[in-house]
Structure formats: C-alpha cells, structure tokens
C-alpha cells in the first residue's frame, strides 16, 4: 500500500481531534450548563467547567417541569416521546414489510399502481401539506392522541423499498422449497422470510426510532394538551414559553435528557445504524 508519512498522520490526527472537539462542543456546553445554578446565567459569559447543581436541576425538570410556562414535568414528556417513537417504528416496520412481501411474492392486478401510490409518500413530506393534513387529523378526532401522533407518520416508502430489495436477493429456491414442504404464503413469511430479515429489521429499527423520537413539527401541530407533549417539542415551549430569558440551566438539562436516548441508541448499535443509514438510501 501507499505509505502514509508521519507528519501527515500527525496533522490528520490534529485535524480530527479539533473536528471531534467542534462536533462535541455544543453538547459539552449543554451538559456543563445543566449543572449550574440559575444565577450563573444572569450576566457574564457562560462557564466551561461543571457547577454544583446537577442533581437539583435534573430533579427539577424531571419532576416539576416549568409550570409557570405551561410545560409539564419532563418525565411524562420522555414517556410520550418513547411511546410515539416506538409506535412509529413498529408501525412503519410492520406495514412496510408486509407491503414489500405482497409486491415481491404475488402477481395481481394493479400491483404497479400500488407500488407508485407508496412511492408517492416520498414526494409528499408532512412539511409540504401541513394545513390539510392537520385538518384530516382534526376531522378524524385524532388531535391530542397517540394515534394522531403516530399513525399519520407510519407510511414509509423507504422501508418498503428496502425490504423489497432485500426480498429480491433471497434465493428463489427457498420459497419453492418451502412450497414443496407445504408452507403457504403466510407460513413462508413467518417461518422463513421474517427470520431472514431480522438484521434488516434491526437496522431499520434504529433509523426509524431516531426518526420517530426526533419528530417536531407534527407533535407541535396536533398536541395542544400538555399531557401529550413530546420532549423535543417541549423544549421549544420551555425556550419561548416565558417572557424573560429562558431558564438556561433547566433548558439544557432537558436538552441533555431529550438527546440522550437516540444518541445512546446510535452509540450502542453503531453497526446496525450505519447499515440502516447507508442501505435505506441505495
């Protein structure tokens, strides 16, 4: 191989360490800020070393929230986010995998038409049809409900395509062998296809969970009842809720708690995450 020279390597390490520092910096600042008492943020520049109030601040946000600004305790919002993320993830995975199964393993009239209907969802993100989608959800009485938070988001062309692509690589003979062995379509799906898809399901699970957890505009639109606030949108309420400067120590404690679950998912499932990310785009 072409050898790297030593100075080049040192330079590369320097660049990367600086880069990592820049990438990590905002979160470091947030963690530091979340450990200081409120007085720290009244004047002067924010500190770069931890303060003494970590336990107090986190206890406050988790149990009390910021009642005067109408934000409920973080505990409930974290739970809501978790429910929403799980519902979106499981919903997307289930309806996508069975659609892909239908498209690959059956021939039937209007197959291509349905494929294009699913494809269209790629071209119509929530952001481009905010008002009428809101109206539909309102008409269906799904405002302020977990169903409203999750169901409209679970149609997924990306996941359907990924599963379709994976199914196309499953050897033809497996299905034929299963048929000779007396397995019908759903038995084949359950006994053969599903177990074979498990890595793909896991990789997509990671991506979808992050997607679901990080939803912002949608919960903002359809929840007016603080009972259903999710944590990511709740932060915005905390920042802009009062007239005065935000209570930075509490906001940052909330930020840390809001970012923690998806970050942990990525750190602990990095291989699946990378697989999920790169394969959904193929």
């Amino acid at each position: 191989m072409v050898e790297n020279n030593r100075w080049g390597n040192i330079l590369a390490h320097i660049i990367l360490i600086l880069g990592v520092a820049i990438v990590v910096f905002p979160v470091y600042v947030a963690i530091i800020a979340s450990t200081h008492p409120p007085g720290t943020f009244v004047r002067g520049v924010m500190p770069l070393l931890p303060g003494p109030n970590a336990i107090e601040n986190y206890t406050t946000v988790v149990t009390q929230g910021r009642s005067q600004a109408g934000t409920p305790p973080i505990g409930g919002m974290l739970w809501n986010s978790f429910i929403m993320a799980m519902a979106i993830t499981i919903g997307k995975l289930s309806i996508s995998i069975i659609s892909a199964f239908a498209i690959v393993y059956f021939k039937f009239p209007f197959r291509i038409f349905f494929f294009w209907v699913i494809f269209l969802t790629l071209m119509l993100p929530v952001e481009v049809r905010i008002v009428p989608t809101f109206q539909v959800v309102a008409d269906l009485g799904m405002l302020n409900s977990f169903a409203g938070l999750s169901i409209p988001l679970i149609a997924s062309a990306t996941a359907t395509f990924l599963f379709r692509q994976f199914f196309m690589t499953v050897p033809e003979e497996l299905m034929e062998a299963a048929r000779v062995d007396g397995a019908g379509p759903m038995k084949f799906f359950k006994d053969i296809l599903l177990p074979l898809s498990i890595t793909n399901i896991a990789a997509l699970f990671v991506i979808m969970f992050i997607y679901g957890w990080n939803q912002y505009l949608w919960p903002l639109l359809i929840t007016t009842d603080p009972e259903y606030y999710t944590i990511v949108m709740g932060i915005q309420r905390m920042v802009t809720g009062g007239d005065s400067e935000p209570l930075w120590h509490l906001v940052m404690a909330t930020v840390v708690l809001a970012a923690l679950p998806p970050v942990l998912v990525i750190l602990f499932m990095q291989r699946l995450f990378v697989k999920g990310l790169t394969e959904t785009e193929k």
């Binding site: 390597n9 660049i15 990590v24 910096f25 947030a30 481009v128 049809r129 033809e172 920042v239």
Partner: protein
C-alpha cells in the same frame, strides 16, 4: 418491476397485505395533498359562511410571486440550503479523508463523529442558539475579542450564519458516513497505480479520489438540499422564528406561519403546492441518479 419467478397465488391476500400502507397513504398523504392543490386555487370563505369559497384560478400563486415577503423567503431558503449543504459536506469530506487514513483509530473517530445524527434539528438549533447567545454565549465572547460584535437578534447575517451552522452540524454525521463508505470502496490498486505514475498525494486526491467520489457527492448534494429545505423547520422554529426582519424565514417555516398563525389558507396551500413541486423534482433527480448507479 419484477416479482419472484414463481409467485403465490391468492386473490385477496396481496390486497390485504398492502391495505394498511395504502389506506394510510391515501388518508394522510394523497387526500391532504389533493386538498392543498384544491385550496391553492380557491379564495377561502369567511368563518360565518356568508361568503363561500370562490374559485380564483392562479390568483393565489400570482399574489405569492408579487409578494416581496415570499420572494425574500425564496432567497433566504436558497442561501440557507446552499450554505448548509456546502458547509456540512466540505467539513464531512475533510473528516472522511482524514479518518480513511487511519487504521487503528478509524472506529473511535467514527463513533465520535456519527452521534450528532441522533440529535433532533430543533435541539441542534437550541444548542447553537445557546452558544451564540449574545449576552452569555461563548461564541460572541470569543468573537468580541476579535472585535466582532455578534448579535443574531439584530443582525440578519449573524442569524443566518447561526442557523446554517446548527443545521450543518447535525448533518455532518450523515455526510461523513457516506463519504467514508465511498472512500473505502475505491480500489487501493488505483491509488497505488497513480502513485507509481508519480502523482503526489494532493494530486492523487484531486485527480483520482475526488472524481471517483463524484456520484456520492452528487447524491449527498440532493439529500442535503432536501434536508435543508424540509427537515430544518425545528432549527428555525425553536430559535429565530424566522427573524430578525424575515432574515431566516425559510419556505417551510413560512407555510406553517401563514397557515397556522396568520390563517391564510389559500396562500399557505399555494406555497404547499410549490414546495411539492420542488420535492418532486428533487426526488426525481435523486432516483434517476440511483437508476444510473444501479445500472453501471
């Protein structure tokens, strides 16, 4: 579009399997989009039903393109998207090239660089908003030492800069992973051949590596523009709220404001339709590119 060579035979099962996905798509995607199309050519009626909605052809669109606020929003979106894409991609490419040199430390650096993907755009916005906070933020303090008076509450350029940095920061992970995968797929023998042909390291990068990365670069450009245009609502909404003086009022944020806060349904619908057209064009470009990549 293919199926398996042999397929199961059932009259109703495939429809039942597709039903959940298709029904949700119809109710929550197709129907609202159709409504948006419809609303975009009507002037809304009043709340008491005295004046019914009237069909106004393309008046809503004409009004939009005559509206300096909308034209401004287009311009702001363009600057924001291009800025975010360029910043995020160039930093990510630099990191990817450097990490690709490493052998033992490759995985550790990767771990440190990928996790911001998990941070929601809104949270990314709040983080940088805090860092750039004019009274207590660390960046204005540093900039002040260089004689720059940072204030994104008053200065339009400062505000734009801040939201670009926040949006780009979150997207670095994504671009980094794709660039790294692209770099790793370049056959080593090519680099070696170039080295034998006497190309210096810099020359090898710009004449061999970078051209071979061009399909990925193009793909990432499209993805990043889509991201900057549609997924960054949270960055704006949680921080500048489009200000100061409309300086960060990107299209997606404006649709939301006009629809939900100003309750101007016709205009908001017309804006939605324009956004739809943009997404459709970008998606088509992206898929044509994928077709090509699959084919060669």
């Amino acid at each position: 579009m293919q199926t398996k060579r042999m397929t199961f035979s059932s009259k109703w099962l495939p429809y039942a399997l597709l039903a959940p996905q298709v029904i949700i798509t119809l109710i929550f995607f197709i129907w609202p989009s159709y409504q948006a199309l419809l609303q975009s050519v009507y002037r809304q009626g009043d709340a008491f039903g005295i004046r019914p909605p009237t069909f106004v052809w393309f008046d809503n669109f004409k009004a939009l393109f005559a509206d300096t606020l909308y034209l401004n929003s287009l311009k702001v979106t363009l600057i924001f998207s291009v800025g975010t894409t360029l910043l995020s991609m160039s930093v990510a490419l630099l990191f990817a090239v450097m990490v690709n040199r490493m052998i033992r430390s490759r995985d550790s650096y990767t771990t440190f660089l990928v996790w911001p993907y998990a941070v929601a755009p809104a949270i990314a916005g709040v983080l940088w908003w805090f860092i750039f906070n004019p009274s207590i933020g660390i960046m204005p303090y540093v900039l002040d030492m260089f004689g720059y008076d940072w204030n994104h509450r008053r200065n339009s350029q400062d505000a734009m800069m801040m939201v670009i940095i926040a949006a780009a920061w979150k997207q670095i992970s994504y671009n980094f992973l794709f660039f790294l995968a692209g770099l790793q797929s370049i056959p080593h023998s090519l680099i070696e051949a170039a080295a034998i042909d006497g190309a210096s390291r810099m020359k090898r990068f710009w004449t061999i590596v970078f051209p071979l990365l061009s399909p990925i670069t193009f793909f990432l450009m499209v993805v990043n523009i889509v991201y900057a245009m549609f997924d960054t609502f949270g960055v704006i909404h949680a921080t500048t709220e489009g200000g100061p003086a409309q300086a960060t009022n990107i299209l997606v944020y404006k649709v939301y404001r006009d629809g939900f806060v100003n309750l101007n349904i016709g205009s908001s619908a017309a804006q939605s339709v324009i956004l739809m057209a943009i997404v459709i064009i970008l998606t088509v470009i992206q898929f044509r590119y994928i077709e090509r990549r699959v084919n060669y």
